[in-house]
């Protein structure tokens, strides 16, 4: 069995930390309704269905509950596909890769990296997600080797009860990691009979390592660190995705991740790569985006408590109804009447058009676009980030429903505006995250 890289995807949120934060550059930040689960869905959407799903994150929305199950549901994968979380440190991504290298499968890593106001993590981190599909079949890259060395080191750590973490002096970690990175790189290249790799990506939670990536291990064609700053578990895959966006065929890529040791993956691209790149490149996503004011960002992360509208907080979603409506809630699957063709969003048993009973077929419109029939800005509704913009959407293949707008810029919405769908977290109530789909202007 030869396992290769079959496809990849990357997702960057559309907000950038505003200049009023004092952070220069364009720090990529997830919106208030995004988390490691929703961003993983966005990174993996559009990839072929995998035989297994491995979700990695340092910021899991849930513990005790498998976050990958929501990703699995949103990707509408069959129940026979196993899905599991690998969480804790950024190293989890390479653990997921190791599993997928053995059996094939989809590795998707996502993180919302939060730093204390004014910290290096706030300034130098990044939020995002990336996915890598491994398996048998026509590959965009062959796997030449992988390695993982371990080192117990008090370099970066976080109390599980807290959203922000701590680091030792950067130079301490740098010195310990630098040797490991060089030795893992040398071993992988040696084993593959290569003197050097064409592209080298070095990611790490230690900024010293990524700043000196090129000096540590030089690539013949390119040497890079993280494309957006340290994005936790997503970092090595985002770095790889950015290289796959531009690399030519028959070029070698060495990915090194220095986290409590050093992991490495050596790939050689195939002639299929140029025609099978991700639909949205990392660079293109990085170029777009708009600024969010610093106080708004702080309130999104729970670091600043703002006055909310004088409205009750919503009820938490209930388990049994969410289970029964799972295909709708997670897969945006409605029901189409087989008698008259009317599409119901959400699914109904009695046709609203011809009254046929139980003559329905499930149909998802998650990947379709629609047009705004009418809209409003609700300044009274409860929201973690008011005001709420709502649209009534008519889908291209029939069907209508009312949705909140994600990443809303009210000035861009009018009757007739084209929208697509994105998987988001509407709110969290009673420690339950209310995942559902929102409309987003195309």
């Amino acid at each position: 069995m030869t396992i290769g890289v079959l496809a990849y995807g990357a997702y960057l949120p559309s907000y950038r930390l505003g200049a009023d934060s004092g952070v220069r550059g364009r720090r990529v930040v997830a919106s208030f309704d995004e988390d490691a689960t929703t961003m993983a869905v966005e990174a993996a959407r559009g990839l072929p269905a995998p035989g297994s799903l491995w979700w990695a994150s340092t910021t899991p929305p849930y513990l005790d509950k498998t976050n990958a199950a929501a990703v699995h549901a949103a990707l509408r994968l069959p129940s026979s596909v196993p899905a599991a979380d690998l969480v804790g440190s950024a190293r989890s991504t390479f653990a997921a890769l190791r599993a997928a290298l053995a059996t094939g499968g989809l590795v998707v890593a996502a993180d919302v990296r939060v730093g204390k106001p004014g910290s290096l993590d706030e300034k130098g981190g990044g939020d995002g997600a990336a996915a890598l599909l491994l398996g048998e079949g026509p590959a965009i890259a062959e796997v030449l080797g992988s390695a993982g060395d371990t080192l117990e080191l008090l370099d970066r750590w976080r109390d599980p009860q807290r959203t922000t973490g701590e680091q030792w002096e950067e130079r301490f970690g740098f010195e310990q990691y630098a040797g490991l990175v060089r030795s893992v790189a040398a071993r992988l290249l040696d084993d593959a009979g290569l003197a050097e790799a064409d592209h080298v990506v070095v990611t790490s939670g230690n900024a010293g390592i990524t700043k000196r990536a090129g000096a540590l291990v030089k690539g013949a064609l390119s040497s890079s660190g993280s494309p957006i700053g340290f994005s936790g578990a997503a970092d090595p895959l985002l770095g790889l995705a950015a290289v796959l966006d531009t690399a030519g065929p028959d070029e070698t890529i060495l990915v090194l991740s220095a986290v409590d040791g050093c992991d490495g993956l050596l790939l050689r691209t195939t002639p299929l790569l140029p025609s099978h790149r991700a639909a949205r490149s990392v660079a293109a996503q990085l170029e777009t985006g708009r600024e969010v004011r610093y106080p708004t960002y702080l309130s999104w992360r729970g670091l600043l408590e703002r006055e909310l509208p004088r409205r009750p907080e919503p009820d938490r979603p209930a388990g049994p109804p969410s289970y029964r409506a799972g295909e709708w809630k997670f897969g945006f699957t409605g029901s189409r009447c087989t008698a008259c063709g009317f599409l119901h969003l959400p699914p109904l048993r009695v046709c609203r058009s011809c009254s046929a009973v139980d003559a329905m077929e499930p149909e998802s419109v998650a990947d379709l676009t629609g047009k705004v029939a009418t809209f409003t800005i609700d300044r009274l509704a409860f929201s973690p980030s008011p005001p709420v913009v709502d649209v009534v959407v008519d889908f291209e293949g029939g069907g209508r429903t009312t949705l909140e707008v994600a990443d809303a810029d009210p000035g861009l919405i009018d009757v007739g505006t084209e929208v697509g769908l994105v998987f988001r977290r509407l709110f969290t109530a009673g420690n339950v995250h209310n995942y559902f789909w929102k409309a987003r202007v195309r």
């Binding site: 004088r310 109804p321 969410s322 009317f342 800005i377 009274l380 009534v392």
Partner: protein, 396 residues
């Protein structure tokens, strides 16, 4: 149409209505006692003369005990009903049918709501446990009704500024009317500038485009029509009662355009048939309609057949529904300025019909009204329940 109606079978012989507003000093029990007491007094009967009660409340209590306990009603049938914002009308409708069936000779319909104790703005929902995906869980009522505005202007090519003027006129008119009503929540005329300059709540709706959130109660005593003159020399007779619950198709169907409430059209058509009304514009003397938000009243003028499609905004601006207009609408101030204690509102509308048809409406009294219409709506564009009644001063 399947409904046969009960035209002239029953009559209202007594009514009561509390002052609506921020009744910090009054509990739900106090409001009930006040409204029921006034209704009993106006009919000249005692509490124990009433055979059965229907109580409407959206959320100020559950079960018939909400009424039997404060009134001390001794082992009489008391039924609590709820039908969103049409709850008060639902209580009245059931009371009428109870009398028409012959089961009882004196039935009281009561409606109450104590909204101001929650500390929140607007109406609250009490939804069953759910999957958390329904838009109405988060979309507030003003936002849901604000959808009418861009849809209406787009469909009929109305200049948004003219539509805004029409919305403002509705609010202005209902405040002018409410200023002439001692029981209204807002008893003050409000300038057009103030209305248009108010902070926005949803879409183009500002605070003055929204009905008043208030506490209040109202009650009506219903008896067989042939006994009506035993109680009063000026009873009012029920000509039509219609209720339509929509299939909630509008939210699913791209062919629905958010410029009409099909439920209202159905209930109005049914009510006119029951009452034998062929030309509502000419035959109806006054209408109390569900002006929860200003664009709602505009759309209702068309759905109730008071004007042609696409014309309501012009007729509103021309003053046709003003106090001295062709067909006065919400003479008592409406939900807008009388206030909207949900369970009481449908009965409050009937209370104005009662006063007007009896010539007791004081400085807002219309000249010789014969037929009054009440329209009460629960839900939102795309899916609602709509109630229409017609009452008249003469039997037969």
């Amino acid at each position: 149409m399947a409904s046969k109606g009960i035209k002239d079978a029953v009559a209202i012989v007594g009514m009561g209505c509390t002052r609506f507003g921020e009744r910090w000093e009054s509990s739900t029990d106090d409001l009930l006692l006040e409204a029921v007491g006034e209704a009993l007094g106006s009919a000249g009967v005692e509490r124990d003369d009433v055979d059965a009660y229907w109580l409407g409340t959206l959320g100020s209590g559950q079960s018939g005990l909400t009424l039997s306990r404060p009134l001390g009603i001794d082992h009489k049938p008391v039924t609590r009903v709820e039908n969103y914002c049409a709850t008060g009308s639902e209580s009245f409708r059931n009371a009428c049918y109870a009398v028409a069936s012959g089961a009882y000779d004196r039935v009281m319909a009561v409606g109450v709501e104590k909204l101001k104790d929650s500390g929140f703005s607007g109406l609250l929902r009490a939804d069953p446990p759910s999957d958390g995906t329904a838009a109405e869980l988060s979309l507030t009522a003003p936002a849901a009704f604000s959808l009418l505005d861009p849809a209406y202007t787009a469909k009929y090519g109305v200049d948004p500024a003219a539509m805004r003027e029409a919305m403002t006129h509705v609010a202005w008119k209902n405040h002018v009317n409410g200023a002439r009503n001692v029981k209204a929540q807002f008893r003050k005329e409000v300038s057009r500038e103030t209305i248009e300059g108010a902070p926005k709540v949803a879409g183009r709706l500002g605070i003055f485009d929204c009905s008043g959130v208030s506490d209040g109660a109202a009650a009506a005593l219903v008896v067989p029509a042939e006994q009506a003159y035993d109680y009063t020399d000026r009873p009012i007779f029920v000509k039509a009662l219609s209720l339509a619950a929509g299939p909630m198709r509008g939210g699913l169907d791209p062919s629905y355009d958010f410029t009409t409430f099909p439920e209202v059209v159905h209930s109005a058509t049914d009510a006119y048939a029951q009452a034998g009304i062929t030309d509502p514009r000419a035959e109806i003397s006054l209408a109390e309609v569900h002006d929860c938000f200003t664009p709602t009243e505009i759309v209702l003028m068309e759905d109730l057949g008071f004007t042609a499609r696409g014309q309501a905004w012009k007729d509103v601006l021309a003053g046709e529904f003003d106090l001295g207009g062709r067909l006065p609408v919400n003479v008592d101030g409406g939900l807008k300025s009388f206030g909207h204690p949900v369970g009481a509102s449908g009965l409050r509308m009937l209370y104005e019909a009662w006063l007007q048809l009896r010539g007791e409406a004081g400085e807002r009294q219309l000249a010789d009204p014969r037929l009054a219409l009440t329209h009460n709506l629960g839900g939102r564009p795309g899916g609602c329940v709509s109630f229409v009644s017609v009452v008249g001063s003469e039997r037969g």
